[in-house]
């Protein structure tokens, strides 16, 4: 079956205007753009650069830890590196990368011509860039050394007087403002600008997750903005919010930070879930199993995610009642998460699975994220957490969740939507090599870290004594991290090559389900000349079937066979 969009004649609109502004070209066209697609591309490119910076920091740390009592890095540099790594990956990579996908795809998926507030959208991007510059500017002076959590009293001026912590605070403010404006924009766009016929029950699942992501950002970000402002005034204007010797409370910071910090985890993984929920059905050639359950699980995870923050604080002096509440809350959140995993597997069940790179990354996601979910149960049981918290077991756990849950999702998204964004396909060979290197590298790096933690290795230490098996474990982990890095590099090469030399994709190379594939690749500035009426969760399937009927090529036999006919 040929592409559908060629069938639609482009109507010529009657424009009445006093003058036509000359279209800008070159770099000024990017700097001044308010087009959601260009902003989305800038988001994705910028955040990927930060991903590579954060990854380089991680490799340096792994080099330092490859041997016991190594002297490659001094403790100050090491502390700076893990602070930069964590902050970069969270605030400058995963969260804004999801905003990049959302920016590019939300209007296309819901059949809108742009975001609700295009100028606000541009502001979001430039605030993000400003946050990144302020933060990375500190490497020329003194980068922060307090970890991405920046617990006071350590982050107070008495212990870290230099400007690194202040750079970190400004990063939180600027990227927070960027995300907050973006979230309001997403919410307004999704609530008001859907194509005719696209009710809430026909919203693509990726759009559901971006909607939930936006609500979580709106609820959680003001709290961290308040907390870092209190830290700023503690540091420079004589207040004592977190200073125990003057009536303040270091524990208050932990509560405020994690009230934001835990929802932040779901802010990072939910859009990843959304990408999986879009890509899996396309390559299983089957509708998503239990659309309503998957959408409802997203919302439920977000709600419960706001009620589990103190499971990061099981070792603090707090009442047992608090621990029990947060343990049971964390247990509850496993139920909707499990439901999602079961639904994804059921989506593959009795499908015809096509092993494209995008699908492989989805599968890598499910298999890896499952391990992160299971180790999360260990950590939720607070007496067990007393042994595991603040060790490499936790480091392994959250990398399984965030690498597995967010990064593999992002890579699946890159391979799936690259043809829409650039009009060209990525190389499948390089893509698959990249996938296998990343998967193997990831498991080699992080599986063994569970054992390091169980053997008593705390996190955030720049050196360790050669006791037990620690040295060999760490060496294995370091080797794995370089395999992982090589895998990422393959995708970078793939992207750089395919932008110019990739195979032309056409509007709908995957025979996909959602509206972004209805327009050309790359889409025109106005996205759609005609916006079709949406009649189901899979509008493109309906459109293909309709074209088939009208052209009379294949008269649709019962449903399943019709599917295979469309594929043929």
């Amino acid at each position: 079956m040929a592409a559908t969009t060629e069938e639609v004649r482009t109507p010529v609109p009657q424009i009445v205007a006093r003058r036509v502004e000359r279209e800008r070209t070159g770099w000024t066209s990017w700097v001044t753009t308010t087009d959601h697609k260009r902003i989305g591309i800038m988001y994705m490119v910028l955040t990927f650069v930060f991903f590579l910076l954060g990854g380089t920091e991680a490799l340096l740390m792994r080099l330092q830890l490859s041997q016991a009592n190594n002297t490659l890095l001094d403790p100050k540099t090491y502390n700076e590196l893990f602070t930069m790594h964590g902050t970069t990956m969270i605030f400058l990579f995963v969260v804004p990368m999801m905003a990049g996908f959302g920016n590019y795809l939300i209007p296309l998926m819901i059949g809108a011509r742009d975001m609700a507030f295009p100028k606000l959208n541009a502001l979001s991007f430039w605030l993000l860039l400003a946050g990144g510059i302020v933060f990375y500017g500190s490497i020329f002076f003194n980068p922060p050394e307090c970890g991405w959590t920046c617990y006071p009293p350590l982050s107070e001026t008495a212990y870290l007087p230099n400007g690194g912590v202040d750079a970190w605070i400004f990063l939180i403010h600027l990227t927070g403002l960027s995300s907050l404006l973006g979230a309001i924009n997403f919410y307004a766009t999704i609530a008001n600008m859907r194509a005719p016929g696209m009710g809430w029950g026909r919203l693509p699942l990726f759009v559901w997750t971006i909607l939930t992501y936006s609500i979580l950002l709106i609820l959680a970000l003001p709290v961290i903005a308040g907390a870092v402002t209190m830290l700023l005034t503690d540091r420079h204007f004589g207040t004592h919010f977190f200073d125990a010797s003057n009536g303040g409370s270091p524990l208050l910071w932990q509560h405020l930070f994690w009230f934001f910090g835990h929802p932040e985890v779901y802010i990072m993984v939910l859009p990843g879930f959304g990408i999986i929920s879009e890509v899996l059905p396309v390559f299983a050639r089957k509708p998503i199993f239990g659309y309503k359950a998957v959408a409802a699980a997203t919302v439920l995870i977000a709600f419960l995610g706001l009620l589990v923050w103190a499971h990061h604080m099981f070792a603090t002096p707090s009442p047992t009642f608090v621990f029990i509440f947060f343990m049971l809350g964390s247990f509850l959140i496993a139920v909707p998460t499990g439901v999602k995993i079961f639904n994804w597997i059921a989506t593959l069940w009795r499908g015809t699975v096509e092993f494209t790179t995008a699908l492989l990354f989805c599968v890598g996601f499910i298999g890896t994220f499952l391990i992160g979910g299971i180790t999360g149960i260990f950590l939720a049981v607070f007496p067990v957490d007393w042994q595991l918290t603040d060790t490499y077991f936790v480091v392994a756990h959250f990398h399984y969740v965030l690498m597995g849950g967010a990064v593999f999702g992002i890579f699946a998204g890159i391979y799936y939507w690259f043809p829409k964004i650039t009009g060209r396909l990525l190389s499948e060979g390089l893509g698959k090599a990249s996938f296998w290197l990343m998967l193997v590298g990831f498991q080699v790096t992080f599986l063994i870290q569970h054992s390091m933690g169980l053997d008593g290795m705390p996190r955030r230490i720049y050196e360790y004594a050669d006791v037990g098996n620690l040295e060999i474990y760490n060496l294995i982990s370091t080797i794995g991290s370089f395999i992982l890095g090589l895998g990422v590099l393959m995708t970078v090469i793939n992207v750089l090559r395919s932008v110019k030399h990739g195979v032309k994709a056409g509007p709908d190379p995957w025979k996909a389900n959602t509206l972004e594939w209805f327009t050309t690749s790359p889409p025109p500035v106005n996205n759609f000349d005609v916006i079709p009426r949406v009649r189901s969760v899979e509008p493109m399937k309906d459109i293909r079937r309709q074209v088939e009927r009208q052209s009379g090529i294949v008269e649709a036999p019962p449903a399943p066979a019709a599917e295979s006919a469309v594929r043929a």
């Binding site: 070792a315 009795r350 260990f378």
Partner: protein, 305 residues
């Protein structure tokens, strides 16, 4: 139910891969069990030095057993469906949009597993949290160690424990051997980095910090407890008699600055008699050092113009 059965029904020709997959799964499970016994140490937390550490280890193993079953089941289902339902010529994908009963089934199933884990936890919790009485070979604790009710510290049933005040400082641990940490007498015995305690005796710890957050952790003696300025945290341990003469190692587990990695902690277990000798010796040493310091001060003051 019938709908589910029909959805899962397969033609006989397709059964062989299923049997193969089951065999592979069984082999994998067997390997895990074997590997589990060989590398038990790599898969479980440290324990052996105190009943609370042992009970945490038990609880961990219970969860691990459930986790392994879930892991094999879910990954097995994932790989089976990938292998079985890969695209082949003539294969037709079933257009199933969901199955409410199945979905309710696995939601309830997941919830039930978690109820079981919660029950495990509540059964083990008292043994982890509440200190037991000291053993018969432990230190004879004076009556004075009985604390008034209302103290946030948990005490053994008979109210007697040896209390040590643990204080985290950048980058060293200080231990004061006193009962009431807030008002410890100025001549209390203290030590740095290495804590000396009698075996078979319930030792309770009052943990706080002087400057930034730290975290007390000796893996074989139980979990970690944050030392936070302005707060007092509590834990306990009771080292069995066979460990007399052994030194347990640990280190600060909360980022506290550049030398966080070098903020080590040690607990040396000795017999009660040795402990009392050590305490007396330490007391005498401290008194002698104080006296020497006082004389030195006097000398310096006299030399000053």
């Amino acid at each position: 139910m019938n709908r589910i059965r029909r959805a899962l029904a397969r033609t006989p020709a397709n059964r062989r891969p299923l049997r193969l997959a089951l065999a592979i799964l069984l082999a994998l499970a067997l390997m895990l069990v074997l590997a589990g016994t060989a590398f038990a140490d790599a898969l479980t937390p440290e324990s052996g030095g105190s009943p609370n550490a042992d009970k945490i280890d038990n609880l961990y193993k219970l969860i691990l057993a459930v986790a392994i079953v879930i892991f094999i089941g879910v990954e097995g289902a994932l790989f089976y469906s990938l292998f079985k339902f890969r695209a082949r010529k003539g294969a037709v994908p079933a257009q199933i949009r969901g199955n409410t009963r199945l979905e309710i089934g696995w939601t309830v199933g997941a919830a039930l597993i978690l109820v079981v884990l919660a029950v495990f936890t509540f059964i083990e919790l008292p043994g982890i949290r509440n200190p037991p009485n000291s053993g018969p070979d432990g230190l004879r604790l004076a009556n004075g160690t009985l604390l008034a009710s209302g103290a946030s510290r948990r005490l053994p049933p008979n109210g007697k424990s040896l209390n040590v005040c643990v204080n985290g400082q950048q980058y060293i641990w200080r231990y004061t051997y006193a009962n009431d940490c807030g008002n410890a007498p100025l001549n209390s015995v203290f030590s740095y980095t290495e804590m000396v305690v009698p075996v078979d005796t319930t030792v309770t710890l009052d943990i706080n910090a002087q400057d930034v957050d730290h975290s007390w952790w000796i893996p074989k003696l139980g979990g970690k407890f944050d030392a936070i300025p302005g707060y007092t945290n509590h834990t306990w341990f009771k080292i069995p008699g066979k460990w007399a003469g052994h030194v347990f190692h640990g280190q600060c587990a909360e980022l506290c600055g550049r030398n966080h990695a070098n903020m080590i902690a040690q607990v040396k277990a000795v017999t009660p008699a040795e402990y009392e000798r050590w305490l007396a010796q330490r007391k005498a040493d401290i008194a002698a050092a104080d006296k020497a310091a006082a004389q030195e001060r006097k000398r310096v003051q006299q030399e000053l113009p």
